[in-house]
């Protein structure tokens, strides 16, 4: 049994504070906040102590927070530094929304656990789809947003903001402006701001506070003096009021305060603390190290027994404690006050701070809140304990995709602790590698290995949970997987294979994650050496491992590779089955959309294209678009364009095809797969087929290809392209010595046959047939083509033949005369526009520009409605969004379609099959 689970949501973070009685009414600000309901984002941005939280609490609680007479629902989330972990941040956001929308976000939370690292856009898309049906205005307040400094969280927020449903309103209270596109939002009227200048108490508000609320009965001059000295800073006015309460010589205090130029808070806190009993002052200082306080925790830190009643008294006396629940159980200090207290503690008793943190760590550990216990252990510099605790929660945090939190802890632990608990060092190595950082990874792995060689290997008798023991059992295999991964990144195929094999030997039958990883790494290495049979076996086995543990995303990812391998092997039908099986699995899984689905549709589109079923191919590509960008893995963007280019070319739109290939080249992402079909080579083939032989020859020159090159699988596609270009050149310029090309093709054929690359063999034979035809060797030509046809028929190849145009048609006719067959007849009669024979310009005009960026689902909705009689406001109503939103979508889709009018957009949409 696991000793501890990661802590569930801390409810105090989601507590919407109740307004305290006797507030200063601030109608001028309330009106501004109400306007925020018509905008997307409301930012309350001001330093500590400016009354941001109070303002929002009062607003939400009052009739002011209402729209069209209906009370809005307020969801509250108080952020802290630990929320820089995206998995934690979004889990809390969903938690906050659930306080007003029970049960919302179930699928989103599921997705959060499904992917590593969390596929935030996918999670948010799912959540937003659910929220788009909101029937009441809902305000989500994120308090203390300035604690967030992790770019992934900001990126997620920007995405949320860009797709915010009409009735969800986002409010950020912060000390620093958030790195979101504020200027753009401001310009489009989607941002309402309340800033320091707005929040400062005016003289009138200061008077109302000091006299009406605090009952100080000050004259106008005194109020004016205090307001001037504090510059309307609310926290300072509160401290001043506190200092004056019960004081006989109020004027003397005011004179002293206003005549002094010390930092306002320093002066006032001194005044307040001086008047407190020594033991209470000590209580404040010692408990200031806490982020949240409860009676027994305070007792632990102060040695008292009455912590709870002290906290209640502090609240009663307005001593800057804020209740965090309705039961008077948890409190926190006002942030500014806490900082001042901490500063004093550090100055007066620097030696006690670490001790207080370790005491807090012990208390939290006893309560089972390991996350807080670790935080305080690190602050208390008790690294040994921190290491022990991190080790305990490692498996559970991994499972919950809390990598960012783990990473933060691991980076904070000193070397000896990592070495003493090598699953931690190993986890740090893995975390760094997964974010593309390889600094120090070797050292960490070496240290782990050393530990395994030494005494540690005998698993000394530390008390650990079963899950941690399991981590230690897996350590040798994990280490080998990491070594293999590192070798792959460095391009060291041999070492990759060696370590992947070692990992497979070490890994337990039940450890499907490590088995899958090791198989995939070994498979990738085999693939890049051209050993496709081994690669295929490895990937097929790897899929089984991931399927067994329901790692659907990994199954989809590996299916891309497996499909690619099968295509090269000439097993087109197997490839289609691979994609379909992966899609079926994703469908059967309890949460339907998953990253990687789009890639499967692209794979299927390519199969349809080869079978010359262009409509079906287009349909598959359209499916990808419907799924949205976030359903694609990194390679999807370029692969999608390569397939669409093939379709365009088959339809006779060569310019469009070349444009798409240009885009694909820009978007190319290898993602560790060997670059076996480089986009420039694909484009060179298109050029060569359509008469732009010079451009194709330039390509071959630039890449540095020659017929004398030694052959390797990695360059096979390029070499075959070179041969195709030279054959086309001979045809167009009646020059060149094709016999050398034929010899080269013979070599390629031999290598491909030997490597079991059936798909390559078909293509090479087709090219040989064309070369021999050009040489006048009709007999050899027909024989080569017949060999290609024999392999191609069972797999249903079509375009590989049709793409070769008129010369191929002539050859097919010759074959049919000798040995008629249904397959050849089908190829001959397959409809295909005559390929263009005039040279193709490399850049095209605007006539056939295909959208650079796909339309979003929302943009497609708008486009569909543009094709109706509805006007703008009607479209907005139809889609339940604001007119502004419709305008934005329209503007974006015009841009993407390259049009400037509604009619043109509709026409273009039809051309692109978007309507």
């Amino acid at each position: 049994m696991e000793r501890v689970m990661p802590h569930p949501l801390i409810e105090t973070k989601l507590y919407l504070p109740s307004p305290r009685p006797g507030r200063v009414a601030r109608p001028r600000l309330r009106e501004r906040l109400d306007r925020g309901l018509a905008a997307k984002l409301l930012v309350v941005s001001a330093p500590a102590g400016f009354g941001k939280t109070t303002l929002l609490v009062d607003w939400l609680a009052s009739a002011g927070g209402a729209r069209d007479g209906e009370q809005v629902r307020g969801a509250w989330l108080a952020l802290d530094a630990a929320d820089n972990d995206p998995a934690r941040f979004w889990r809390y956001v969903v938690g906050a929304l659930r306080t007003v929308l029970p049960g919302v976000g179930q699928d989103a939370l599921g997705l959060l656990e499904d992917s590593r690292p969390p596929a935030v856009e996918l999670v948010l898309t799912t959540l937003l789809n659910e929220l788009s049906a909101l029937d009441l205005d809902t305000v989500l307040v994120l308090d203390d947003y300035h604690v967030i400094d992790a770019p992934p969280v900001h990126e997620g927020m920007a995405f949320l903001l860009a797709h915010l449903p009409a009735r969800l309103h986002l409010v950020l209270a912060t000390r620093s402006d958030p790195p979101l596109p504020l200027p753009r939002l401001r310009a489009s009227g989607d941002l309402v701001e309340v800033r320091a200048a707005d929040l400062r108490f005016t003289a009138q508000e200061a008077a109302s506070y000091l006299n009406d609320v605090m009952g100080l009965e000050l004259g106008p001059d005194d109020v004016h003096a205090l307001e001037g000295r504090t510059e309307g800073w609310i926290a300072a006015l509160q401290l001043a009021a506190l200092s004056m309460t019960g004081r006989t010589d109020v004027s003397g205090f005011i004179a002293g305060f206003t005549g002094d130029d010390r930092y306002v808070v320093d002066y006032l806190v001194e005044e307040v603390l001086q008047r407190l009993p020594v033991d209470l002052r000590d209580f404040l200082l010692r408990t200031s190290v806490l982020d949240r306080m409860t009676g027994s925790l305070c007792n632990a830190l102060t040695g008292r027994v009455d912590g709870r009643s002290v906290l209640e008294a502090l609240e009663r006396d307005n001593l800057f404690v804020v209740p965090l629940d309705d039961r008077r159980h948890w409190y926190r200090y006002h942030h500014l006050f806490a900082d001042v207290l901490r500063g004093r503690l550090l100055d007066e008793q620097p030696g006690v701070v670490t001790g207080l943190h370790t005491t807090a760590a012990t208390w939290y550990e006893q309560q089972g809140d390991v996350e807080e216990a670790i935080r305080h252990s690190l602050l208390g510099e008790d690294f040994e304990r921190a290491g022990e605790l991190v080790e305990t929660v490692l498996p559970a945090f991994r499972r919950d995709r809390r990598e960012a939190t783990l990473r933060g802890w691991l980076e904070a632990l000193p070397r000896p602790v990592l070495q003493d608990r090598p699953i931690l060092g190993n986890a740090l190595a893995g975390a760094r590698m997964s974010t593309g950082e390889f600094d120090g990874v070797d050292d960490l792995l070496d240290a782990t290995e050393e530990w395994m060689r030494g005494v540690g290997h005998a698993l000394e008798g530390r008390a650990r949970g079963a899950a941690v023991d399991e981590e230690y059992r897996r350590l040798p295999a994990d280490l080998a997987v990491h070594r293999a991964g590192l070798a792959l990144v460095r391009g060291d195929v041999e070492q990759t294979v060696t370590h992947a094999r070692a990992a497979l030997d070490l890994v337990g039958e039940e450890d499907h994650v490590s088995r899958g990883a090791a198989l995939a790494l070994g498979g990738l290495a085999a693939w890049s050496t051209g050993d496709l049979e081994t690669a295929h076996t490895a990937y097929a086995a790897c899929l089984v491992e991931f399927e067994l543990i329901d790692h659907v995303s990994d199954v989809l990812g590996c299916s891309i590779t497996l499909g690619d391998i099968e295509v090269v092997q000439g097993r087109l039908r197997s490839a289609a089955r691979t994609y379909r099986a992966a899609l079926d699995l994703a469908d059967r899984h309890h949460r339907p959309v998953l990253r990687g689905r789009a890639d499967m549709h692209v794979g299927l589109a390519a199969r349809h294209l080869e079978a010359d079923d262009l409509a079906a191919a287009r349909q598959e590509l359209a499916r990808c678009r419907e799924l949205g960008e976030s359903a694609g893995l990194p390679q999807d963007a370029y692969r999608w364009r390569v397939v669409l280019a093939g379709i365009c070319e088959a339809e006779g739109d060569v310019e469009g095809a070349v444009d798409l290939l240009d885009e694909a080249e820009r978007l190319y992402v290898g993602d560790f797969s060997p670059p076996v079909r480089p986009v420039p080579a694909v484009r060179a083939r298109t050029w060569a087929r359509h008469g732009a032989v010079d451009a194709a020859l330039d390509w071959a020159d630039r890449v540095g290809l020659s017929l004398d090159d030694p052959l390797s699988y990695l360059r096979e596609f390029e070499h075959l392209t070179l041969a195709k270009v030279l054959v086309a050149d001979a045809r167009h310029h009646e020059g060149g010595d094709l016999s050398l090309v034929v010899t080269f093709l013979d070599r390629l054929l031999e290598a491909a046959t030997e490597g079991g690359r059936g798909g390559s063999v078909v293509e090479i034979q087709v090219t040989r047939a064309l070369a021999l035809q050009q040489l006048g060797d009709d007999e050899g030509s027909v024989r080569a083509l017949a060999a290609a046809l024999g392999l191609a028929e069972p797999e249903g190849y079509v375009r590989t033949f049709l793409d070769e145009g008129v010369p191929m048609a002539t050859l097919l006719a010759a074959v049919e005369r000798r040995a008629p067959s249904a397959y050849v007849r089908r190829l001959r009669s397959a409809s295909s526009p005559a390929p263009a024979t005039q040279p193709v310009p490399r850049r095209s005009g605007s006539a056939h520009v295909v959208p650079v960026e796909p339309l979003s689902t929302r943009e497609r909705d708008v486009l569909r409605l543009l094709d109706t009689e509805l006007n703008g406001p009607e479209i907005a109503r139809e889609l339940v969004v604001s007119l502004n939103t419709v305008r934005t979508h329209t503007k974006n889709l015009y841009m993407k379609l390259g049009v400037t009018s509604r009619r043109a957009a509709v026409r273009r949409g039809r051309e692109l099959d978007l309507l």
Binding site: P47, A235, V265, D266, L336, D339, D347
Partner: protein, 88 residues
């Protein structure tokens, strides 16, 4: 990250910094601000001065200034010889 560093600040990012804030800040804040020295000026401002490990540490200090609600007036990097004064 190395690239960014080169692009933004070709000089090594550690060194001596001066941070000037409005108001007279008590000497007791020295530890809070990572043992920087605090000097009150005639003009009612305070200069925090000290060695800063790197840019992240500097931003951490500025964040502390923000969190106390202090008004930040100036941040400057000091030439090494100016820093040689024996004041800490």
């Amino acid at each position: 990250m190395d690239q960014l560093r080169t692009a933004v600040d070709p000089a090594p990012d550690e060194g001596w910094y001066r941070i000037r804030v409005r108001g007279r800040l008590d000497q007791r804040w020295s530890t809070w601000f990572g043992d920087m020295s605090l000097t009150g000026g005639e003009d009612g401002t305070t200069v925090l001065r000290g060695r800063v490990g790197d840019q992240a540490a500097l931003h951490g200090l500025i964040e502390k200034v923000r969190d106390l609600g202090l008004t930040l007036l100036e941040v400057s990097h000091e030439a090494p010889d100016a820093a040689a004064e024996p004041d800490r």
